[in-house]
């Protein structure tokens, strides 16, 4: 356990060093947030018909999306890991006494946390104090806030286990960039990062709901704004946990399989 903690710490410090990049990231995220909100504002302004999600809930969705982008992004490459795998140097990692799945998991988790820690706070603070209509309202109530934090963290863990599967697939394809880019693009779309899930057509929503991706983004964001009621959210937490167990289990299983194959082949 100690090994995981120190890998985690090391990554966290390393990530925190890139302050200038974080500042730039914050500015970019802000800009994107504004653009999205203005686009939705324009869409909403022209009709009074009932929409599946209110504008203020949508704005919350956008700001949370921007603030926690690092949690959700699938296109988050760790070139060190890629090189480790493609060059066959992964053999060195195998010499270490700790489980490789756990170590990498800790590393990826720390990367996402460090990059989100720097970015989310400033974005959230400014989003709160922005004037209407751009401002983000406070959480629905304290219970939904607590639920939000819980679902967000569970979602983060899910995303990391999903990206672990991506890295494991590199063992087989050995050509990371292309296939991963496709996986990431589709995954992010299905997580509600391109357009919010409630605005998708019903048939697509039905697909989204059976896949794991939306649990990391769409779900916590809507819990925050109260768009998903609390009793539903509790059921959601249970589903998140089930997904998490499944994904980690699958990851560990395939990892051992793949590694065994590598050891047999001699690298």
């Amino acid at each position: 356990m100690k090994a995981y903690v120190s890998v985690f710490k090391l990554r966290l410090y390393h990530g925190l060093q890139y302050r200038a990049a974080a500042l730039a990231g914050i500015a970019t995220q802000f800009f994107f947030g504004f653009i999205f909100i203005m686009v939705y504002e324009a869409f909403y302004s022209q009709s009074t018909a009932a929409f599946p999600i209110s504008l203020s809930q949508l704005i919350t969705y956008v700001w949370l999306q921007q603030a926690f982008l690092a949690f959700v992004m699938l296109w988050f490459r760790d070139n060190e890991l890629f090189q480790l795998i493609t060059s066959g140097n992964v053999a060195y990692e195998l010499c270490r006494p700790s489980g490789i799945y756990g170590l990498w998991y800790a590393k990826l988790l720390a990367q996402r946390l460090s990059s989100a820690l720097l970015r989310s706070m400033p974005i959230l603070v400014i989003a709160y104090i922005l004037p209407k209509p751009y401002g983000m309202p406070l959480p629905h109530n304290s219970v939904s806030f607590l639920l939000f934090v819980l679902t967000l963290l569970l979602g983060l863990l899910m995303m990391v286990s999903l990206s672990m599967l991506m890295y494991i697939s590199v063992f087989i394809t050995l050509s990371p960039a292309g296939s991963l880019l496709m996986f990431a693009v589709i995954g992010e779309f299905l997580a509600g990062m391109v357009i919010p899930v409630p605005l998708m057509p019903t048939w697509l929503q039905n697909i989204v709901y059976v896949l794991p991706f939306r649990w990391a983004a769409d779900f916590p964001f809507r819990v925050y704004s109260g768009h998903i009621p609390q009793d539903e959210a509790l059921i959601g937490v249970a589903i998140q946990i089930i997904w998490l167990v499944l994904l980690v289990g699958l990851g560990k299983y395939t990892m051992t399989r793949v590694l065994r194959k590598i050891v047999v082949q001699g690298g």
Binding site: L16, Q17, R19, A20, L23
Partner: protein, 325 residues
């Protein structure tokens, strides 16, 4: 050919500090320290010379090469190379020089060497006739026939370095700057590179400025060395002069028939001794070698004797020590 007069260059280096608080501060305000990379450097080089430019790491060798190749503008001083000021008429000037950075490649990694050569021909606008003649000469002297069609990533370091040097000579430059051309090469490749540098110097009259840490390069190639340390020019002259200055201490190894009594030689220091073998060190300015030899042969029955001059490497280290760098 090259006239450098009083060149100075000072860098500002940002201070890096640790700790989150400090790091955050540095986002807005940075402290700088001045580093004098070059301090009043002057020398001249005649056409056809090979000059070894040496000094410990961080002495300012690379900075000087950068100034001479027009990459860097110095703070003060003048530099005239073939009538040009390198940093003023960059495009016109660099047509006349070739530069090899030993640690970096100028070849395109994934394509055959010949493709890189052809692109360089277009970059330098080398006339077809001249290009063909140069390519033929380079291929022959550097023995590139077998490797010219291979992608660079498949070449060994020695093969690559030969191609690098060829690449920087395709446009028939009058001056060649070589920044550590033998770094990381095995013994055979080093010798091949040295031989080639000598060949193009003799046959095409190319002036060569060479920086290196390998004194064997210097000994094999340069008639003249320029030594710098901490940005200052410390020595400019022939290798022989250094030898005369620092090479006066010789080591004498004597092998002889078994004898129990240690040797006693006036004017020589006994470094080690055994009943069959003795090592002495002698300063030839204090005492003549012949006297020492006579003295030895009087005391023991000599089987063999070796008189050794210290390697140039040691002399350079002494030179560094003398200048405290």
């Amino acid at each position: 050919m090259i006239t450098i007069n009083g060149i100075s260059k000072t860098y500002q280096v940002a201070k890096r500090s640790s700790g989150i608080g400090q790091a955050f501060k540095s986002l807005f305000h940075r402290e700088y320290t001045d580093v004098e990379a070059l301090n009043d450097i002057s020398f001249t080089v005649k056409p056809g010379e090979i000059v070894g430019y040496i000094g410990p790491n961080g002495a300012g060798k690379s900075t000087t090469i950068k100034v001479m190749s027009g990459i860097l503008v110095p703070d003060s001083g003048s530099c005239t190379i073939m009538g040009y000021t390198p940093w003023k008429d960059r495009v016109a000037y660099v047509r006349n020089i070739g530069v090899v950075f030993g640690q970096r490649s100028q070849l395109w990694w994934d394509v055959p060497v010949i493709d890189s050569f052809e692109l360089l021909r277009d970059i330098y606008k080398v006339p077809e006739q001249e290009y063909k003649a140069n390519l033929a000469l380079l291929t022959e002297t550097l023995e590139l026939q077998d490797i010219i069609g291979m992608p660079v990533r498949q070449l060994s370091l020695g093969q690559r370095m030969r191609c690098e040097i060829a690449a920087s000579l395709l446009h028939s430059p009058s001056i060649l700057f070589l920044d550590e051309p033998t770094i990381g090469l095995d013994a055979a490749s080093k010798i091949a590179v040295r031989r080639f540098i000598r060949t193009i110097n003799e046959e095409k009259g190319v002036t060569v400025i060479l920086t290196t840490h390998d004194m064997n390069d210097i000994e094999a190639l340069a008639q003249r060395i320029i030594l710098i340390g901490k940005g200052k020019l410390l020595y400019d002259g022939s290798i022989d002069a250094i030898r005369n200055q620092f090479g006066t201490r010789k080591t004498i190894i004597a092998l002889y028939r078994q004898q129990e009594a240690p040797l006693k030689i006036a004017g020589a220091v006994l470094e080690s001794w055994s009943p069959e073998r003795a090592v002495l060190s002698v300063d030839t300015e204090q005492v003549l070698i012949s006297e020492v030899l006579i003295s030895i042969s009087q005391q023991v029955e000599l089987i063999d004797i070796i008189i050794d001059t210290p390697p140039i490497e040691d002399m350079i280290i002494q030179l560094y020590k003398e200048h405290q760098i």
